[in-house]
Protein backbone atom coordinates (compact mmCIF):
# COMPACT_ATOMS: atom_id res chain seq x y z
CA UNK A 1 0.00 0.00 0.00
CA UNK A 2 1.35 3.43 -0.86
CA UNK A 3 1.31 5.94 1.96
CA UNK A 4 -1.05 8.91 1.55
CA UNK A 5 0.44 11.86 -0.28
CA UNK A 6 1.69 14.62 2.02
CA UNK A 7 1.00 18.30 1.49
CA UNK A 8 3.03 20.65 3.68
CA UNK A 9 2.12 24.31 3.99
CA UNK A 10 4.67 26.67 5.54
CA UNK A 11 2.92 29.66 7.12
CA UNK A 12 -0.38 29.53 8.98
CA UNK A 13 -2.26 32.67 8.12
CA UNK A 14 -4.56 33.98 5.39
CA UNK A 15 -2.78 32.34 2.45
CA UNK A 16 -1.73 29.11 4.18
CA UNK A 17 -5.17 28.30 5.55
CA UNK A 18 -6.89 29.21 2.29
CA UNK A 19 -4.44 26.86 0.52
CA UNK A 20 -5.38 24.07 2.94
CA UNK A 21 -9.07 24.64 2.22
CA UNK A 22 -8.35 24.81 -1.50
CA UNK A 23 -6.56 21.44 -1.30
CA UNK A 24 -9.56 19.79 0.30
CA UNK A 25 -12.05 21.53 -1.97
CA UNK A 26 -10.00 20.32 -4.93
CA UNK A 27 -10.23 16.74 -3.69
CA UNK A 28 -6.86 16.24 -1.97
CA UNK A 29 -7.13 13.02 0.01
CA UNK A 30 -3.61 12.98 1.43
CA UNK A 31 -2.40 14.60 4.62
CA UNK A 32 -2.19 18.39 5.10
CA UNK A 33 0.28 19.79 7.61
CA UNK A 34 0.35 23.54 8.23
CA UNK A 35 3.40 24.94 10.03
CA UNK A 36 3.04 28.26 11.83
CA UNK A 37 5.85 30.10 13.54
CA UNK A 38 3.55 32.11 15.79
CA UNK A 39 2.59 30.35 19.00
CA UNK A 40 -1.08 31.16 18.82
CA UNK A 41 -3.65 29.87 16.37
CA UNK A 42 -3.99 31.98 13.21
CA UNK A 43 -6.03 35.16 13.61
CA UNK A 44 -7.37 38.13 11.72
CA UNK A 45 -4.24 40.23 11.27
CA UNK A 46 -6.04 43.16 9.66
CA UNK A 47 -7.73 44.05 12.94
CA UNK A 48 -4.46 44.74 14.74
CA UNK A 49 -4.11 48.30 13.49
CA UNK A 50 -7.81 49.12 13.64
CA UNK A 51 -10.31 48.50 16.44
CA UNK A 52 -7.89 46.38 18.46
CA UNK A 53 -5.38 49.13 18.99
CA UNK A 54 -8.14 51.40 20.27
CA UNK A 55 -9.38 48.82 22.78
CA UNK A 56 -7.31 48.04 25.85
CA UNK A 57 -7.45 44.25 25.88
CA UNK A 58 -9.53 42.71 23.08
CA UNK A 59 -7.94 39.88 21.09
CA UNK A 60 -8.19 39.31 17.33
CA UNK A 61 -10.57 36.67 16.09
CA UNK A 62 -9.19 33.23 15.31
CA UNK A 63 -9.46 32.30 11.63
CA UNK A 64 -10.54 28.70 12.20
CA UNK A 65 -12.03 26.77 15.07
CA UNK A 66 -10.34 23.50 16.11
CA UNK A 67 -13.52 21.75 14.93
CA UNK A 68 -13.26 23.26 11.46
CA UNK A 69 -9.65 22.10 11.16
CA UNK A 70 -10.42 18.61 12.45
CA UNK A 71 -13.39 18.23 10.13
CA UNK A 72 -11.22 18.98 7.12
CA UNK A 73 -8.27 16.91 8.29
CA UNK A 74 -5.92 19.87 8.54
CA UNK A 75 -3.04 19.33 10.96
CA UNK A 76 -2.18 22.80 12.22
CA UNK A 77 1.11 22.93 14.11
CA UNK A 78 1.56 26.30 15.77
CA UNK A 79 4.86 27.38 17.28
CA UNK A 80 6.55 25.13 14.73
CA UNK A 81 8.58 27.01 12.12
CA UNK A 82 10.06 25.88 8.84
CA UNK A 83 13.81 26.52 8.95
CA UNK A 84 15.14 24.96 5.79
CA UNK A 85 14.21 23.20 2.59
CA UNK A 86 15.87 20.32 0.73
CA UNK A 87 14.31 20.23 -2.72
CA UNK A 88 16.20 17.10 -3.82
CA UNK A 89 15.09 14.93 -0.95
CA UNK A 90 11.77 16.81 -0.67
CA UNK A 91 12.09 17.63 3.01
CA UNK A 92 11.20 20.65 5.10
CA UNK A 93 13.53 21.11 8.07
CA UNK A 94 11.66 22.45 11.09
CA UNK A 95 12.59 24.58 14.08
CA UNK A 96 12.83 21.61 16.45
CA UNK A 97 15.36 19.93 14.18
CA UNK A 98 12.85 17.52 12.68
CA UNK A 99 12.18 16.94 9.00
CA UNK A 100 8.86 16.72 7.19
CA UNK A 101 8.71 14.93 3.83
CA UNK A 102 6.39 16.44 1.23
CA UNK A 103 4.83 15.51 -2.05
CA UNK A 104 3.62 19.08 -2.46
CA UNK A 105 4.90 22.13 -0.59
CA UNK A 106 3.16 25.50 -0.43
CA UNK A 107 5.25 28.46 0.74
CA UNK A 108 3.06 30.99 2.56
CA UNK A 109 5.28 32.51 5.24
CA UNK A 110 4.11 36.04 4.45
CA UNK A 111 5.87 39.18 5.51
CA UNK A 112 6.87 41.07 8.63
CA UNK A 113 7.35 44.77 9.35
CA UNK A 114 10.62 46.19 8.06
CA UNK A 115 12.81 46.98 11.05
CA UNK A 116 14.44 50.26 11.88
CA UNK A 117 16.93 50.83 14.67
CA UNK A 118 18.12 53.82 16.60
CA UNK A 119 21.72 55.01 16.36
CA UNK A 120 22.35 52.92 19.49
CA UNK A 121 20.99 49.81 17.79
CA UNK A 122 17.66 49.75 19.59
CA UNK A 123 14.97 48.32 17.29
CA UNK A 124 11.84 50.47 17.02
CA UNK A 125 8.60 48.57 17.51
CA UNK A 126 6.37 47.89 14.50
CA UNK A 127 2.99 46.19 14.17
CA UNK A 128 2.74 42.77 12.55
CA UNK A 129 1.61 40.30 15.20
CA UNK A 130 -0.50 40.10 18.36
CA UNK A 131 2.70 40.26 20.42
CA UNK A 132 3.53 43.53 18.69
CA UNK A 133 0.04 44.79 19.45
CA UNK A 134 0.41 43.95 23.13
CA UNK A 135 3.77 45.68 23.34
CA UNK A 136 2.37 48.70 21.54
CA UNK A 137 -0.62 48.94 23.86
CA UNK A 138 1.69 48.92 26.88
CA UNK A 139 3.98 51.54 25.36
CA UNK A 140 1.12 53.77 24.35
CA UNK A 141 -0.56 53.52 27.75
CA UNK A 142 2.48 55.11 29.30
CA UNK A 143 3.08 57.69 26.56
CA UNK A 144 1.77 61.15 25.87
CA UNK A 145 3.43 61.59 22.52
CA UNK A 146 4.08 59.03 19.79
CA UNK A 147 6.19 59.60 16.70
CA UNK A 148 5.27 57.40 13.77
CA UNK A 149 7.84 56.93 11.05
CA UNK A 150 6.29 56.01 7.69
CA UNK A 151 3.09 56.87 5.90
CA UNK A 152 1.76 53.56 4.55
CA UNK A 153 -1.70 52.16 5.29
CA UNK A 154 -0.75 50.50 8.54
CA UNK A 155 0.99 53.63 9.81
CA UNK A 156 -2.00 55.81 9.07
CA UNK A 157 -4.36 53.31 10.66
CA UNK A 158 -2.16 53.31 13.76
CA UNK A 159 -2.23 57.12 13.79
CA UNK A 160 -6.03 57.12 13.64
CA UNK A 161 -6.30 54.48 16.39
CA UNK A 162 -3.91 56.42 18.64
CA UNK A 163 -5.91 59.63 18.15
CA UNK A 164 -8.98 57.71 19.33
CA UNK A 165 -6.94 57.05 22.50
CA UNK A 166 -6.13 60.77 22.74
CA UNK A 167 -2.43 60.20 22.28
CA UNK A 168 -0.56 63.03 20.58
CA UNK A 169 0.69 61.71 17.24
CA UNK A 170 3.35 63.03 14.88
CA UNK A 171 3.66 61.36 11.48
CA UNK A 172 6.97 61.61 9.62
CA UNK A 173 7.63 60.40 6.10
CA UNK A 174 9.33 61.09 2.81
CA UNK A 175 6.11 61.20 0.77
CA UNK A 176 4.57 64.64 0.51
CA UNK A 177 1.07 63.17 0.38
CA UNK A 178 0.55 59.77 2.02
CA UNK A 179 -0.98 57.04 -0.17
CA UNK A 180 -1.29 59.30 -3.21
CA UNK A 181 0.31 56.60 -5.35
CA UNK A 182 -2.43 54.06 -4.76
CA UNK A 183 -5.48 56.22 -4.02
CA UNK A 184 -4.82 59.22 -6.27
CA UNK A 185 -4.21 62.78 -5.14
CA UNK A 186 -7.80 63.77 -4.41
CA UNK A 187 -8.67 60.83 -2.18
CA UNK A 188 -5.25 60.90 -0.53
CA UNK A 189 -5.62 64.60 0.23
CA UNK A 190 -9.10 64.10 1.67
CA UNK A 191 -7.80 61.25 3.84
CA UNK A 192 -4.80 63.22 5.06
CA UNK A 193 -7.17 66.09 5.85
CA UNK A 194 -9.07 63.69 8.13
CA UNK A 195 -5.82 63.10 9.99
CA UNK A 196 -5.18 66.82 10.29
CA UNK A 197 -8.73 67.49 11.47
CA UNK A 198 -8.31 64.81 14.11
CA UNK A 199 -5.19 66.50 15.41
CA UNK A 200 -2.39 64.49 13.81
CA UNK A 201 0.76 66.52 13.38
CA UNK A 202 2.59 65.77 10.13
CA UNK A 203 6.04 66.60 8.82
CA UNK A 204 5.99 65.15 5.34
CA UNK A 205 8.19 65.22 2.29
CA UNK A 206 11.34 64.97 4.36
CA UNK A 207 13.37 61.82 4.86
CA UNK A 208 14.26 60.50 8.28
CA UNK A 209 18.05 60.59 8.70
CA UNK A 210 18.42 58.94 12.07
CA UNK A 211 16.68 58.17 15.32
CA UNK A 212 18.42 58.89 18.60
CA UNK A 213 17.50 58.76 22.26
CA UNK A 214 15.52 55.93 23.79
CA UNK A 215 12.30 55.02 25.62
CA UNK A 216 10.65 58.12 27.03
CA UNK A 217 12.62 60.46 24.80
CA UNK A 218 13.21 59.48 21.19
CA UNK A 219 14.63 62.11 18.86
CA UNK A 220 13.96 61.71 15.16
CA UNK A 221 16.22 63.73 12.87
CA UNK A 222 14.91 64.73 9.45
CA UNK A 223 16.92 65.71 6.39
CA UNK A 224 15.88 69.36 6.77
CA UNK A 225 17.67 69.45 10.12
CA UNK A 226 14.50 69.41 12.22
CA UNK A 227 14.33 67.12 15.26
CA UNK A 228 11.08 65.56 16.49
CA UNK A 229 10.60 64.29 19.99
CA UNK A 230 8.35 61.41 21.01
CA UNK A 231 7.95 59.40 24.22
CA UNK A 232 7.56 56.46 21.87
CA UNK A 233 8.82 56.06 18.30
CA UNK A 234 7.21 53.49 16.01
CA UNK A 235 8.35 52.22 12.63
CA UNK A 236 5.73 51.77 9.94
CA UNK A 237 8.01 51.63 6.94
CA UNK A 238 6.59 48.71 5.03
CA UNK A 239 7.17 44.98 5.15
CA UNK A 240 9.83 42.49 4.12
CA UNK A 241 9.19 38.90 3.03
CA UNK A 242 9.78 36.07 5.55
CA UNK A 243 11.94 34.16 3.09
CA UNK A 244 15.29 33.92 4.86
CA UNK A 245 14.62 30.26 5.65
CA UNK A 246 14.76 29.59 1.90
CA UNK A 247 18.24 31.01 1.36
CA UNK A 248 20.33 28.45 -0.50
CA UNK A 249 17.35 26.16 -1.07
CA UNK A 250 17.19 26.63 -4.83
CA UNK A 251 13.86 28.46 -4.70
CA UNK A 252 14.23 31.70 -6.67
CA UNK A 253 13.69 34.85 -4.63
CA UNK A 254 13.70 38.55 -5.35
CA UNK A 255 11.87 40.63 -2.78
CA UNK A 256 9.89 37.47 -2.04
CA UNK A 257 9.50 34.09 -3.70
CA UNK A 258 9.15 34.30 -7.47
CA UNK A 259 6.34 32.29 -9.00
CA UNK A 260 4.07 32.28 -12.01
CA UNK A 261 0.42 33.33 -11.89
CA UNK A 262 -0.53 29.74 -11.06
CA UNK A 263 1.76 29.82 -8.03
CA UNK A 264 4.54 27.54 -9.38
CA UNK A 265 8.01 28.48 -8.17
CA UNK A 266 9.90 26.56 -10.85
CA UNK A 267 11.05 23.97 -8.30
CA UNK A 268 8.96 20.83 -8.85
CA UNK A 269 5.96 20.62 -6.51
CA UNK A 270 6.90 23.78 -4.64
CA UNK A 271 4.31 26.56 -4.83
CA UNK A 272 3.94 30.01 -3.28
CA UNK A 273 1.06 32.29 -2.28
CA UNK A 274 0.16 35.38 -0.30
CA UNK A 275 2.41 38.22 0.84
CA UNK A 276 5.51 36.06 0.31
CA UNK A 277 4.81 35.52 -3.38
CA UNK A 278 5.92 37.73 -6.21
CA UNK A 279 4.04 36.64 -9.27
CA UNK A 280 4.67 37.22 -12.94
CA UNK A 281 2.92 40.30 -14.22
CA UNK A 282 1.38 40.56 -17.64
CA UNK A 283 4.37 42.20 -19.30
CA UNK A 284 7.62 40.20 -19.60
CA UNK A 285 10.00 40.53 -16.69
CA UNK A 286 7.44 42.30 -14.51
CA UNK A 287 6.84 40.80 -11.09
CA UNK A 288 4.14 41.88 -8.70
CA UNK A 289 3.72 41.56 -5.02
CA UNK A 290 0.45 42.51 -3.44
CA UNK A 291 0.42 42.57 0.33
CA UNK A 292 -3.26 42.49 1.04
CA UNK A 293 -5.66 40.11 2.68
CA UNK A 294 -8.10 39.21 -0.08
CA UNK A 295 -5.26 38.56 -2.49
CA UNK A 296 -3.58 36.22 0.02
CA UNK A 297 -6.80 34.28 0.51
CA UNK A 298 -7.71 33.96 -3.16
CA UNK A 299 -4.19 33.19 -4.30
CA UNK A 300 -3.74 30.63 -1.52
CA UNK A 301 -6.97 28.94 -2.43
CA UNK A 302 -6.06 28.87 -6.13
CA UNK A 303 -2.74 27.19 -5.35
CA UNK A 304 -4.46 24.61 -3.14
CA UNK A 305 -6.93 23.80 -5.91
CA UNK A 306 -4.13 23.56 -8.49
CA UNK A 307 -2.10 21.18 -6.36
CA UNK A 308 -5.08 18.94 -5.62
CA UNK A 309 -6.25 18.81 -9.22
CA UNK A 310 -2.84 18.60 -10.85
CA UNK A 311 -3.60 21.79 -12.77
CA UNK A 312 -1.85 25.13 -13.23
CA UNK A 313 -4.65 27.66 -13.49
CA UNK A 314 -3.49 31.25 -13.26
CA UNK A 315 -5.02 33.51 -10.64
CA UNK A 316 -5.76 36.88 -12.16
CA UNK A 317 -8.52 38.08 -9.87
CA UNK A 318 -8.60 41.86 -9.48
CA UNK A 319 -6.49 43.10 -6.60
CA UNK A 320 -8.55 44.50 -3.79
CA UNK A 321 -7.79 46.09 -0.47
CA UNK A 322 -9.47 48.18 2.14
CA UNK A 323 -8.40 50.50 4.90
CA UNK A 324 -10.31 51.97 7.78
CA UNK A 325 -9.46 55.32 9.31
CA UNK A 326 -11.67 57.52 11.49
CA UNK A 327 -14.69 55.40 10.65
CA UNK A 328 -14.22 55.76 6.89
CA UNK A 329 -13.69 52.50 5.06
CA UNK A 330 -11.97 52.99 1.73
CA UNK A 331 -11.92 50.13 -0.75
CA UNK A 332 -9.92 49.75 -3.92
CA UNK A 333 -10.33 47.18 -6.66
CA UNK A 334 -7.81 46.78 -9.44
CA UNK A 335 -4.75 49.00 -9.48
CA UNK A 336 -3.69 52.58 -9.86
CA UNK A 337 -0.73 52.85 -12.22
CA UNK A 338 1.85 55.64 -11.99
CA UNK A 339 0.57 58.74 -13.79
CA UNK A 340 -3.05 57.58 -13.83
CA UNK A 341 -5.84 60.14 -13.90
CA UNK A 342 -8.38 59.93 -11.10
CA UNK A 343 -11.91 60.61 -12.17
CA UNK A 344 -14.76 60.95 -9.68
CA UNK A 345 -17.79 59.30 -11.28
CA UNK A 346 -20.13 59.01 -8.31
CA UNK A 347 -20.50 61.19 -5.21
CA UNK A 348 -17.91 63.73 -4.20
CA UNK A 349 -14.53 63.03 -2.60
CA UNK A 350 -14.83 65.95 -0.16
CA UNK A 351 -18.10 64.53 1.21
CA UNK A 352 -16.47 61.18 2.04
CA UNK A 353 -18.87 59.35 -0.28
CA UNK A 354 -17.42 58.65 -3.70
CA UNK A 355 -16.41 56.36 -6.52
CA UNK A 356 -13.16 57.31 -8.28
CA UNK A 357 -11.87 55.56 -11.41
CA UNK A 358 -8.13 55.27 -12.07
CA UNK A 359 -7.21 55.24 -15.73
CA UNK A 360 -4.33 56.06 -18.03
CA UNK A 361 -4.31 59.09 -20.29
CA UNK A 362 -4.90 56.72 -23.18
CA UNK A 363 -8.16 55.64 -21.55
CA UNK A 364 -6.96 52.25 -20.25
CA UNK A 365 -8.94 51.57 -17.11
CA UNK A 366 -6.98 50.09 -14.18
CA UNK A 367 -8.99 50.35 -11.02
CA UNK A 368 -11.57 51.95 -8.78
CA UNK A 369 -11.49 53.42 -5.27
CA UNK A 370 -14.64 54.03 -3.30
CA UNK A 371 -15.91 55.08 0.10
CA UNK A 372 -19.45 54.58 1.41
CA UNK A 373 -20.43 53.16 -1.96
CA UNK A 374 -20.01 49.46 -1.21
CA UNK A 375 -23.17 48.62 -3.02
CA UNK A 376 -21.92 50.25 -6.19
CA UNK A 377 -18.63 48.35 -6.19
CA UNK A 378 -19.80 44.97 -7.42
CA UNK A 379 -20.56 46.31 -10.86
CA UNK A 380 -17.10 47.83 -11.23
CA UNK A 381 -15.50 44.67 -9.90
CA UNK A 382 -17.27 42.59 -12.54
CA UNK A 383 -16.22 44.99 -15.28
CA UNK A 384 -12.59 44.92 -14.11
CA UNK A 385 -12.69 41.13 -14.00
CA UNK A 386 -13.98 41.11 -17.58
CA UNK A 387 -11.30 43.68 -18.58
CA UNK A 388 -14.02 45.98 -19.79
CA UNK A 389 -13.08 49.35 -21.34
CA UNK A 390 -13.39 52.65 -19.51
CA UNK A 391 -16.53 53.48 -21.49
CA UNK A 392 -18.33 50.60 -19.77
CA UNK A 393 -17.36 51.98 -16.36
CA UNK A 394 -18.70 55.38 -17.39
CA UNK A 395 -21.92 53.79 -18.57
CA UNK A 396 -22.22 51.92 -15.27
CA UNK A 397 -21.68 55.13 -13.29
CA UNK A 398 -24.44 56.88 -15.28
CA UNK A 399 -26.76 53.97 -14.73
CA UNK A 400 -26.03 53.76 -10.99
CA UNK A 401 -26.55 57.49 -10.62
CA UNK A 402 -29.92 57.36 -12.32
CA UNK A 403 -31.09 54.39 -10.23
CA UNK A 404 -29.12 54.47 -6.97
CA UNK A 405 -28.82 51.12 -5.29
CA UNK A 406 -28.15 52.49 -1.84
Amino acid sequence: MTPPRAAVIAGASAAGLAAADGLRDGGWTGTITVLGEERRPPYDRTMLSKGLLVQPAAQPLPLRTPEQLAERGIDLQVGHAARGLDIDRRLVVTGDGGVLPYDALILATGSRPRTMTTVDGLPLPGLGTVEDLELLRDLVDAARTVTLIGTGFISLEIAAALRARHVQVTVLGADTLPLAGCLGDQVARWLWDQHRTHGVDGHLGRKVISVGGGPGDFLVHLEDGSVHHGDVALAGIGVVPCDEWLIGSGVRRRGGVLCDAAGRTGVPDVWAAGDLARTDGESPGQTLGFGHWTNAVEQGRNVGLNVARGEANAYHGPRTFWTEQYGHTIRSIGTREPGDLDETVEGDVASGEFVVLHHGRDGTWHGVTACRRDRALRGYRRLLLARAPLADAHALARQQLSSPTS
Binding site: A18, D44, G51, L61, L63, T320, D374, A376, R378, T405
Partner: protein, 72 residues
Protein backbone atom coordinates in the same frame (compact mmCIF):
# COMPACT_ATOMS: atom_id res chain seq x y z
CA UNK B 1 -27.90 19.37 -3.95
CA UNK B 2 -30.81 21.47 -5.08
CA UNK B 3 -28.61 24.48 -5.88
CA UNK B 4 -30.15 26.67 -3.17
CA UNK B 5 -28.04 27.77 -0.28
CA UNK B 6 -28.74 29.53 2.99
CA UNK B 7 -26.27 32.06 4.36
CA UNK B 8 -25.63 32.40 8.06
CA UNK B 9 -23.86 35.38 9.68
CA UNK B 10 -22.24 34.58 13.02
CA UNK B 11 -23.11 37.67 15.04
CA UNK B 12 -20.40 36.92 17.58
CA UNK B 13 -17.70 37.10 14.92
CA UNK B 14 -18.85 39.67 12.35
CA UNK B 15 -16.92 42.94 12.65
CA UNK B 16 -18.97 44.85 10.07
CA UNK B 17 -15.96 45.18 7.76
CA UNK B 18 -18.39 45.08 4.85
CA UNK B 19 -16.10 43.11 2.56
CA UNK B 20 -19.03 40.84 1.84
CA UNK B 21 -21.08 43.86 0.76
CA UNK B 22 -18.45 44.88 -1.75
CA UNK B 23 -18.43 41.36 -3.16
CA UNK B 24 -22.19 40.89 -3.36
CA UNK B 25 -24.35 43.87 -2.33
CA UNK B 26 -27.57 42.25 -3.49
CA UNK B 27 -27.11 39.67 -0.78
CA UNK B 28 -25.20 41.43 2.01
CA UNK B 29 -25.58 44.81 3.62
CA UNK B 30 -24.11 46.59 6.61
CA UNK B 31 -26.74 49.24 7.33
CA UNK B 32 -25.46 52.48 8.83
CA UNK B 33 -24.96 51.95 12.55
CA UNK B 34 -25.39 48.18 12.38
CA UNK B 35 -22.69 46.26 14.26
CA UNK B 36 -23.00 43.28 11.93
CA UNK B 37 -23.77 42.41 8.32
CA UNK B 38 -27.31 41.53 7.45
CA UNK B 39 -28.29 39.09 4.77
CA UNK B 40 -30.83 40.63 2.43
CA UNK B 41 -31.77 37.33 0.79
CA UNK B 42 -30.86 34.46 3.00
CA UNK B 43 -31.44 31.88 0.31
CA UNK B 44 -29.33 32.40 -2.78
CA UNK B 45 -29.65 30.94 -6.24
CA UNK B 46 -27.06 29.07 -8.21
CA UNK B 47 -25.84 32.13 -10.14
CA UNK B 48 -25.08 34.02 -6.93
CA UNK B 49 -23.12 31.19 -5.41
CA UNK B 50 -19.67 32.05 -6.81
CA UNK B 51 -19.75 35.56 -5.39
CA UNK B 52 -21.27 34.46 -2.11
CA UNK B 53 -18.58 31.79 -1.74
CA UNK B 54 -15.94 34.42 -2.37
CA UNK B 55 -17.46 36.57 0.36
CA UNK B 56 -17.33 33.60 2.73
CA UNK B 57 -13.64 33.04 1.96
CA UNK B 58 -12.45 36.60 2.23
CA UNK B 59 -14.40 37.65 5.32
CA UNK B 60 -11.45 38.27 7.66
CA UNK B 61 -13.56 37.44 10.68
CA UNK B 62 -14.71 34.14 9.10
CA UNK B 63 -18.23 35.11 10.12
CA UNK B 64 -20.11 33.72 7.15
CA UNK B 65 -21.11 30.17 6.45
CA UNK B 66 -23.26 28.43 3.89
CA UNK B 67 -25.75 25.73 4.51
CA UNK B 68 -27.71 23.86 1.94
CA UNK B 69 -31.25 25.26 2.23
CA UNK B 70 -32.61 21.79 2.78
CA UNK B 71 -30.48 21.33 5.93
CA UNK B 72 -33.09 22.64 8.30
Amino acid sequence: MNGRTRIVVDATRCQAYGLCVAVHPDVFDVPAGSPIAVVLRDVVDADDVADVEQAVRVCPAQALSLQSAGDR
